[in-house]
């Protein structure tokens, strides 16, 4: 594995533009979880000119919903891992417009996101899927939560402090490259041959 690039929030624009697909990074600082409902509500606030709950400039959005327990003071985070990012595909340009510099999730995003990443200088970071305990190790503090009552635990925005979170893989960069697109194209190229030369089949 490559040596990781250590990044801290707020992310500097040039440090993100420098990243290329396959690079490995770790993140330190403040991150915000956001899934479907949070994205929809942020958009609604923006469109109606109401204030945002946080300043997202140079920020990191984690497509995730944690398991948290109420503690004497605030919350204790038990587990957190990436959710399927493609659901947030319609919002990438909006995220860029808010100043978000990195989206973290699993499974990758589409062409619209690649365009937004180029336009705003953003990256998509892949977090190992299904690893709720591993990622939780990097979370040092639950600083704040927005919309918990309204949306419930998974869909709320959780503001988390992380230290050297990673390794995270740069899977889509700001230069139009996507690891997922390349792998999909290679798979599609093999498809005809795999179907035609399907030997040994019982059927």
């Amino acid at each position: 594995m490559k040596r990781p690039v250590h990044l801290s929030t707020p992310l500097a624009p040039e440090s993100i533009r420098n990243l290329k697909v396959h690079d490995i990074v770790t993140l330190t600082g403040t991150i915000y979880t956001a899934r479907d409902m949070a994205h929809l509500k942020l958009k609604e606030l923006k469109e109606s000119g109401r204030p945002m709950p946080e300043v997202f400039a140079g920020g990191v959005i984690f497509h995730a919903g944690p398991v948290v327990k109420k503690a004497d003071k605030g919350f204790t985070l038990l587990t957190i891992g990436p959710t399927t990012s493609i659901r947030m595909e319609p919002h990438s340009d909006f995220m860029g417009d808010l100043g978000v510099k990195a989206l973290v999730g699993k499974g990758g995003m589409g062409d619209g996101s690649l365009r937004a990443f180029k336009k705003y200088g953003m990256v998509y970071l892949l977090a190992a899927p299904g690893c709720g305990v591993l990622h939780a190790q990097a979370v040092k503090e639950v600083r704040q939560v927005h919309w918990l009552e309204e949306f419930g635990m998974p869909e709320a925005i959780w503001v988390l402090e992380v230290t050297e979170w990673g390794p995270l893989t740069v899977a889509m960069d700001s230069h139009g490259n996507s690891l997922f697109h390349t792998i999909k194209e290679e798979g599609l190229k093999k498809l005809d041959a795999l179907v035609k030369d399907w030997k040994r089949s019982s059927a």
């Binding site: 399927t84 659901r87 699993k106 305990v133």
Partner: protein
């Protein structure tokens, strides 16, 4: 509550906590084999992270993945055990495990999106019960998988024409669906394939096949067994790899369930399962003893 119900409830809760703080031993073995065979460093790193996560979850007694999906419970029940209110007891166990932090409250009203806060709600858990007059015991198999994979489940009704010569239509449909899902359903995946019946029948068969069978077992039907292996091998040639970063292992297992169908149609349902197979199963007897089967 009857004494036998209390005993069943205790046995179920204990098994549930064990089930969600690790992955099924058959899947763990397949993951270790996948790591041994993997040559590409990013794929190796991904599998190592996944195995380390399982180890940490067991050590810290935490849910191995934050996403419990919709819990599925498969019950077979003999006449002696028919007095146990399995649906109620298992539902209550899930609520208790949610309050204890082993499961994230993830269940909402489908239209208002209001979260119930404890993984309860009409139709939750997904529950199937089969009565069998010959059984001396009650058998329960419980399966948790993340909900990401559900986004890629697909159904198609084939005709004799569209199935194609040598099932080429069917094979293309399978591989295309897996390519389009790519890294999104948390590969290495398990793929359940339900064939036959009508739409609902095929869908149920697809989920049951991948949720209740050991991923390293053999299909008792030798023809289907061969087809399962063939499909898995073809999927693994697609190069999607663990987490979608490329690599040798995209599917750990393919499991097929069939029912006979009408002469005009061939319904096919595909059910994606993430690598985080959290399952347990046991037989429960009228004297309160139990025997683990998964």
């Amino acid at each position: 509550m009857k004494k036998i119900e209390t005993k069943f409830g205790e046995a179920f809760y204990e098994a549930l906590v064990r089930g969600v703080t690790g992955i099924s031993p058959d899947i763990l073995r397949l993951m270790e084999e996948a790591l041994a065979e993997e040559k590409s460093p990013p794929a190796q790193a991904m599998l190592e992270a996944m195995l380390k996560n399982v180890e940490l979850a067991q050590k810290l007694r935490k849910g191995v993945c934050q996403s419990p999906g919709i819990p599925c419970i498969y019950v077979r029940c003999g006449p002696k055990m028919a007095g146990i209110d399995v649906k109620k007891i298992t539902g209550e166990s899930i609520i208790r495990a949610t309050r204890e932090g082993y499961l994230r409250p993830s269940i909402v009203h489908p239209l208002t999106r209001k979260n119930t806060g404890d993984n309860s709600g009409p139709g939750i858990p997904n529950f199937e019960i089969e009565l069998d007059p010959k059984l001396e015991y009650l058998e329960a198999i419980v399966s948790f998988k993340g909900c990401g994979p559900e986004l890629f489940n697909t159904f198609r009704t084939f005709t004799p024409e569209s199935l194609g010569k040598n099932l080429e239509g069917f094979k293309r449909f399978l591989l295309e669906t897996v390519i389009n899902a790519g890294g999104k359903p948390c590969p290495p995946i398990g793929l359940g394939i339900g064939i036959g019946g009508q739409m609902d029948g095929a869908a149920k068969l697809s989920r049951k096949a991948i949720s209740t069978r050991k991923w390293n077992d053999q299909n008792p039907d030798p023809e289907l067994n061969l087809l399962e292996q063939d499909i898995r091998d073809r999927i693994n040639q697609l190069g999607i790899g663990p987490g979608g970063v490329g690599g040798k292992t995209t599917a750990l297992a393919v499991k097929i369930g069939i029912a006979y169908t009408h002469t005009a149609i061939c319904p096919v349902a595909l059910n994606f399962h993430c690598w985080v197979g959290r399952r347990f199963g046991f037989k429960f007897y009228s004297d309160g003893t139990r025997e683990e089967i998964l």
